[in-house]
Symmetry: C2
Subunit: 193 residues, 2 copies
Amino acid sequence: MPAPRTSAHDDRTERIMRTTVALAREVGYSNLGIEAVAAGAGVGKHTVYRRWSSKGALFLDSVLTLHASSLDYPDTGDVVADVKRQIYDAVDLLASDEVAPLFRALVAEAQRDDEVAAALVERFAAPQKAKTVARLAAARSAGQIAADADLELAMVTLSGPLYYLLLVTHEPVTHDVVDRIVDALFAGLTPRA
Amino acid sequence: MPAPRTSAHDDRTERIMRTTVALAREVGYSNLGIEAVAAGAGVGKHTVYRRWSSKGALFLDSVLTLHASSLDYPDTGDVVADVKRQIYDAVDLLASDEVAPLFRALVAEAQRDDEVAAALVERFAAPQKAKTVARLAAARSAGQIAADADLELAMVTLSGPLYYLLLVTHEPVTHDVVDRIVDALFAGLTPRA
């Protein structure tokens, strides 16, 4: 996930975020209460609300900040290998026992809180899309990707399958599955002449 | 969505399901209470709990039953057109103003209730996958799809992008976007010789 765009993290802010994530793991996101977070972090409720407008906003900031990962694409010159590597990294993070429950709760909250949904796009989906398009544009310039490939959609076709597995079918996303998905997207369904 | 697999729907069952969906629309899924559903349907709480083990189970059954749609693939002989047609139908249903909030709430609940997650796969994702594989297998026999195409993954690569747009970025899924996604998946990223 991208580096936090928030301003300086003082110790108190960090403590509130760590308490939020620890409590969410312990009691589940739906049972998480701002009061309990404040008590656990040793601050007043108003201190929490001064910085975060809602429980969803606090949770999103805490998860994305504490599990920040740039998820950059390597550029070894082999675009297929580089895309696989980046998706391994994303999957190893998002599907890990540590992060998966937090990420699922975050996406769940985004279904009912439009501010959380917008922040998830701004801090996570949009930066990832920009990196994906940049890496594929370089590959296109190198002749490794079809000249008429629809790069604007590349994030959607490359990441969509993973989110479907993570959020809908809850199937394990192994590196082997990532390989098969990426190979299928590069090869296409239409028979080669 | 698939036809309901539940047993005979008597009037009371139907009334409870309609009340569930109407109340969920009105107050939001998170504020939906079994007590209010029972009162609205004119039955006792125990009547609801006798049939459904949890609020999540009641909601899932209500949404999938009342908005049942078979989402079958046509077979006109043109696999690209048929796949697009089926995805238009899915999108027109799931992204509609009427159903989208219910579907989002359902996927959100599946993130924290394993029974809801399992039922969503059994009643929705698995039957859709079987239909997708069957239609593509017919196309492969007809030489319209590469002989080595990984059909087991086809549901994931074809549907994943839509769920990503619906659940993560919340972007509108127009028929034009569907066309671009399907065309990209058939063409593949690798340049044609």
